[in-house]
Symmetry: C2
Subunit: 147 residues, 2 copies
């Protein structure tokens, strides 16, 4: 199972969500949440459509996964997100006590690392998986915006 459903596969699913955002004119960021190799939440950025700064992919995925599990804690879950989470999303992930965060591209401007946001001691972090795909999608979006 791990051979078929690995980080690479799940990040691909998050990228598929990011592409939906792209097609809707949203900054293309997607996220999914898994538990035991199973996807329990899928979301993409909807800040423009909903006119809501809190509608980042991660926030919606957290709400959706909590709803699915009927638990506000996501202790045995992994979030796959195509861009490094911002301060808000990292704050939410802290509260959720999520087991693992995997992100593709880094966000040197608004990412949690630059702002030195504390991560939950129980949370492991990996990054760089399918980074180029995610980052090329973001670049294409902003290039199209400027044109």
């Amino acid at each position: 199972m791990k051979i078929l459903f690995d980080d690479n596969y799940f990040m691909g699913q998050a990228i598929a969500e990011a592409k939906k955002a792209y097609l809707e004119g949203e900054i293309p960021v997607g996220a999914i949440i898994t538990i035991d190799q199973r996807i329990i939440a899928r979301a993409h950025n909807l800040s423009e459509k909903l006119n809501d700064v809190t509608a980042h992919a991660e926030m919606q995925a957290i709400t959706s996964a909590s709803n699915f599990l009927n638990s506000k804690y996501l202790s045995n879950c992994t979030i796959y997100v195509t861009l490094e989470p911002c301060v808000m999303c990292m704050g939410a992930l802290f509260w959720s006590k999520i087991e693992r965060i995997v992100y593709a591209a880094s966000d040197p401007k608004s990412g949690f690392r630059k702002r030195k946001v504390l991560t939950h001691p129980k949370t492991k972090i990996s990054y760089g998986i399918r980074e180029d795909e995610s980052s090329n999608l973001l670049k294409a979006f902003f290039r199209a915006q400027r044109e």
Copy 2:
């Protein structure tokens, strides 16, 4: 108008929201958002009821005010909240470009100040308004939880 509807009055409205949370068994935090001395959003913490760590009073108030104004930016708004915002909420308030944040009690454990979260350069912050009322409500809640 400023005599009738000042920070003290609006914080009283946020405290009324916090009391609703208290009665529902939620950590008693309330928030309201105003524009031109008019309340456009009221919310209280619903993390337990909704099983959702993102359901802090501030987050719901931001979504509600954005919905009311049909704008994701809250540039001319003030948020009154009974407790110092956490990292997640401060991250959301940063994105909203809100004009002013007024909070009652400080949160030395989970507040944004301890975690050194950046505030938006356009946002002014005041605190300590009706601090005792807000903090007594929180203390009473946690005392009751322990008993």
